[in-house]
């Protein structure tokens, strides 16, 4: 290559660099050219954890249909304002959120959708052993050891043992603490969950700078985080509550004859999603499984 040719090439590449660099930086920061050639500072919304095959609507317009590999969707170049995000999938509860978009900022929203019908598989008290199935020999049912273990989760003494063991050593295990109260909240690392009458609360007792995003919101271009939030105010008194399958941003609540799941995220449109309806149910979350006891019925939710 001759020196002249190389100088021309160097000039072209330098020019390309000088032109492209500011364009890419502005674009990366959400600044775009509007229809009328004015400069616009846009924001974005990251909609996360959608079920595959979900339809994503923004202000009523279909934006995307998710697949197994793309369960998140980044809505970019949104002008500042309020947007209604709706996610739908057949046989699932709809999920919706109203999100305020700020210039050069991204708001994350985690979708929480449960199937409309959740199967609860019964855990039988007795099991029949295979092998000796001759008609002449009568099979004697044996007690299912799993049943005994799970059933024990619902006894008051084991509850006290499970939750109160984390309290200080001066606390007597015989003290009748109400589980999930402000004095004795359910703890998941630094997250504390409790209810007062019909309202579920979530609090963060760690360093406020590392609090989960659900505790934070934008106030005048800065992020403000609180150490406590109201998850939801229900219509009736909460009897029992816990974190949803070990997750920190969704909870389970028992009210009357119904068990609901609800997200803790600050979402004006959130609604409790029915998980189980019975006569006198109760639930426990153990080893990432939701167990439900309703009278003599014991089962596990298939989620």
């Amino acid at each position: 290559m001759t020196m002249l040719k190389r100088r021309i090439l160097t000039g072209i590449f330098s020019l390309l660099f000088l032109i492209l660099a500011p364009i890419i930086i502005f674009y990366a920061n959400g600044t775009i050219m509007g229809d009328d050639w004015n400069i616009l500072a846009t924001g974005g919304v990251l909609v996360r954890s959608m079920e595959s095959g979900s339809q994503l609507f923004v202000n009523g317009k279909l934006k995307d249909i998710t697949s197994f590999f793309t369960r998140d969707y980044f809505l970019k170049n949104l002008r500042p304002g309020v947007y209604t995000i709706l996610v739908k999938k057949d046989n699932y509860n709809d999920w919706s959120n109203m999100i305020t978009v700020y210039p050069n900022k991204v708001v994350e929203s985690i979708v929480f959708m449960l199937p409309k019908e959740i199967n609860v598989t019964e855990i039988k008290k007795f099991i029949v052993e295979d092998g000796l199935s001759s008609s002449s020999i009568k099979q004697t049912p044996k007690v299912n050891p799993n049943y005994e273990v799970i059933d024990a989760l619902f006894s008051t003494s084991s509850l006290v043992k499970k939750y109160v063991s984390v309290l200080s050593t001066t606390t007597s295990t015989s003290t009748k603490y109400a589980i999930g109260t402000k004095e004795n909240p359910i703890r998941n690392r630094h997250l504390l969950l409790w209810s007062e009458k019909d309202t579920a609360f979530l609090a963060w007792d760690g360093d406020i700078d590392s609090a989960p995003k659900i505790f934070c919101k934008y106030i005048k271009d800065t992020i403000k985080c609180d150490s406590q939030l109201i998850v939801y105010s229900f219509e009736t008194k909460i009897i029992n509550l816990d974190f949803f399958l070990g997750e920190t941003e969704k909870i389970l609540v028992l009210m009357g004859d119904k068990i609901y799941a609800i997200e803790a995220e600050q979402n004006q449109n959130k609604k409790p999603q029915l998980l189980y309806k019975g006569k006198n149910p109760d639930f426990r979350v153990f080893n990432n499984i939701i167990y439900i006891k309703d009278g003599v019925f014991l089962g596990q939710a298939e989620i």
Partner: protein
Amino acid sequence: MDYKNTPYYRVGRAADLHGKDRLIYRLLEILPGFLSWATIIGTVLVSYFLPFWAAVFIIVFDLYWLLKTVYLSMHLRQNWKKMKHNMAVDWEKMLLNIKYDHIYHLILLPFYDENIDIVEKSLQSLANSKYNKSKMIVVLATEAKTGKQAEIIAQEMTKKFTGFFGYFCVTKHFLKATDEMPGKGSNIAFSAEEIRRKVLDKNMIKYEDVIVSAFDIDTVIYPQYFECLTWNFLTAEEPLKSSFQPVPFYNNNIWEAPALSRVVAVSGTFWQMIQQERPERLSTFSSHSVCFKTLFETGYWQKNMVSEDSRIFWNSFLARNGDYQVVPMTYPISMDANLDRNLWHTIKSIYKQQRRWAWGVENMPYALFGFIKNNAIPFYQKLRFTFVLIEGFWSWATNPIMIFLLGWLPVIIGGRHFQSTVLSYNLPVLTRDLMTLAMLGLLTSAAISISLLPPRPDRVSWRQVFFMFIQWIFVPITVTIFGAIPALDAQTRLMFGKYMGFWVTPKFRNYNK
């Protein structure tokens, strides 16, 4: 006063100087490591304290890298076309109209303790050369300290190759503890002086008629190498103010070497090919050639440092007040890719070899110090070479780390406020996209590398050839682990005054494969 006659001319390290000069030289030794570490640490700190600006810097840097990759790929492709042409040309014909029968070639082969097969293959390639062998002076430059085995090999080679060439000599170098460092430089400098006294002066051969080729012991020449070199020498504008640089291929054992070694080796070849298209940035590297008169006036290769192959260029450049250049031959010579007993030893060898090459950074304080002391060099030239040197060593040690390791740092440590910005969400996507585009250039590299391979031996399957193509996916690993890290290692050593010694790359060829 001639720069050559100053105490700075042969300086190896800061300790060779005194007073203020020592301090300046020491600061210049610290400079490359300081710049590289400042960049890396600075990126981490800025990512934490000013993540927005770190992200802006990373995006700008990624764009620069992409454009640079495309720009250099164009140079590579251009040089490849030229090389294919040069390899096809009949250089004997090219010399038909030029008087060249007065030209002698002095070939120096520094020999340490390598295997006899390696020595023999190199000598055999010289014997197979089409050039008039009566005009070739071949020297096996041995080291006295390597002992009996090396001596036996030297004797066997003498027996076998005496009579093939005009002169075949074996020199034995005894290391002078006072001003010499063990290594190639002291050996070939001694050898060249021996040949001057015992062959050139004795036979009244003019120094300006002798072209010296300082090879490695594993260097295997292509049949018309000396014709090509002679043509370049005789047609150069300033042959006595020039060094001649071939392109090092690592084809001797390329079919046996593992993928990592091949990628590193071919990347080295590509870098040299790119540099051949930019001769104003070129300095001598590894095997190179120069007129004996020039070499003699320069004072041979420096004996008190490691990377004598590039230093000889800077010696000549400073001694001639900047009136010196490297002429790119765009013609290959072949050497060994790194290959040791097993993969792990090979990996260690690659790292050590790359670190030794990166130790070429010791030439940076030498050159910059020379620019300060030698006022006869034009200012523009000083400025250009200062930029070339600093940018070269800085980018070698930092760019892959910045691109492949630090690109996402602001997103990770930038804090909640930055993590909720559009820039934070776009940074990984943009970095990935720009890098993917840059990696597309590797397709060109893969195609060129296949075209430069020696003929496929029968024992090598087409599957292996296919792997030669897809091996380029290792580039992000090789440029970081065998590029940036050894370069940073070398610069850090220089920065702390932990000077490196010469390390002989183990030469191993698996003939049973």
